[in-house]
Assembly symmetry: C2
Homo-oligomer: 227 residues x 2
């Protein structure tokens, strides 16, 4: 590429990475706040998470449009092309993490007898595990660090195991407390959403690895507990 | 583009569309077979769905690699660029539909007392609605038909309403039949997976529309019932 094109390309990439980082920061915040809202019953906080999802969706649209423009105008090669493709795909995954957080926030009004509701106490730790994966994979993306990314992939098994245990616990709780079935059913979906957030952090880690190295991490077998 | 490049590009696009169509056909088959396996308790059929998911994942990898190669070697513009980006994104969505079908198949061994199990009888119709959306959106993709694609988007509300009703029914059933809670909890996730399959058919429809017209369908507000 000519020098001025290289400069313009670098500016585009910086902007693209900035948009992805902004999306990621918002999604990370939503994951944490959705759980806070669920535990405390804070509807305003939940509404904030739901509203923020629109902004995340808009940012994804911006990433899509800018990626297509960069591909069209600059026709990048090799590393640069991988960088653009990775941004495009990572933005899609962050958008889904935002959706999961929104989905958790939407359940806030559907939990009855929140105080001393044992099933609810199991979820914050699980959420923190998944939220930390999201945080760390965004850091790995910002640092273009494939080693850090590959470490994050390994942590997903812990979230999956947690989910498995929570699912069994919830079933037992419903059997013993039929009056709470509707609320616990809501929490089952919350647990599942958290488990999926961990999966998606893993997906991002795989793309960070690919963008940085041009090779794929060895395929992992998806654990979809408990079925 | 020079004439030989145009020809090579057309061949690449034909191959790309062929891969996406193949993925779509496999995913559609999995959606139907997963429900059959669930209703009949046919574990072999379920295992086939689970095995097929690996093939779908492989095909997605092929679409990714070919897309990147086409972008790198041919640097397509305008319509052609949209075509490649749409194939890349649609492949990602079909892969997720395959995952949902696999997830349903994995629950086949976890349903007790399958015969005359009322909650199970609600799901095939819902699955057919979502499966038809998948089938029709693939047809719209093959025909590059934005009008057909936009019609499919409207049908998702019906799947969402069905899900909402199924969810309430399942909660009532669990309250009245605590011994079945574990099985019904599995079916709740199945219902949710079907609802997501409808969402993803909608996502594909939006991309078909974009690829064909260069403009976006008006934003719809995601219904995430029942929370």
């Amino acid at each position: 590429m000519a020098e001025h094109t290289v400069k313009a390309f670098d500016e585009d990439i910086t902007r693209l990475r900035g948009l992805v980082a902004e999306m990621g920061g918002l999604a990370e915040l939503s994951v944490a706040e959705a759980m806070d809202a669920l535990v405390t019953g804070n509807q305003d906080l939940a509404d904030g998470v739901i509203a923020r999802d629109k902004r995340i969706d808009q940012l994804e649209g911006e990433v899509d449009r800018l990626s297509v423009r960069v591909l069209a105008l600059r026709a990048p090669m090799a590393d640069d092309l991988r960088e653009v493709i990775a941004a495009l795909k990572i933005a899609g995954v962050i958008e889904r993490i935002g959706d999961y957080a929104k989905n958790i926030a939407k359940r806030v009004g559907h939990i009855e007898g929140r105080k001393r509701f044992e099933p609810l106490t199991l979820l914050p730790v699980m959420n923190e595990l998944a939220g930390d994966m999201v945080h760390d994979v965004l850091t790995a993306y910002a640092a273009r660090d494939p080693i850090a990314a590959s470490e994050i992939v390994k942590r997903d098994a812990k979230v999956d195991a947690f989910y498995d245990s929570v699912f069994r616990n919830f079933v037992s709780y419903m059997v013993e407390n039929p009056a709470t079935i509707s609320s616990v059913a809501q929490l089952m979906f919350v647990a599942r959403n958290i488990e999926r957030i961990g999966d998606h952090a893993t997906n991002i880690a795989e793309m960070v690895y690919y963008a940085a190295t041009g090779t794929y991490l060895p395929e992992r077998d998806d654990v979809i507990p408990p079925a």
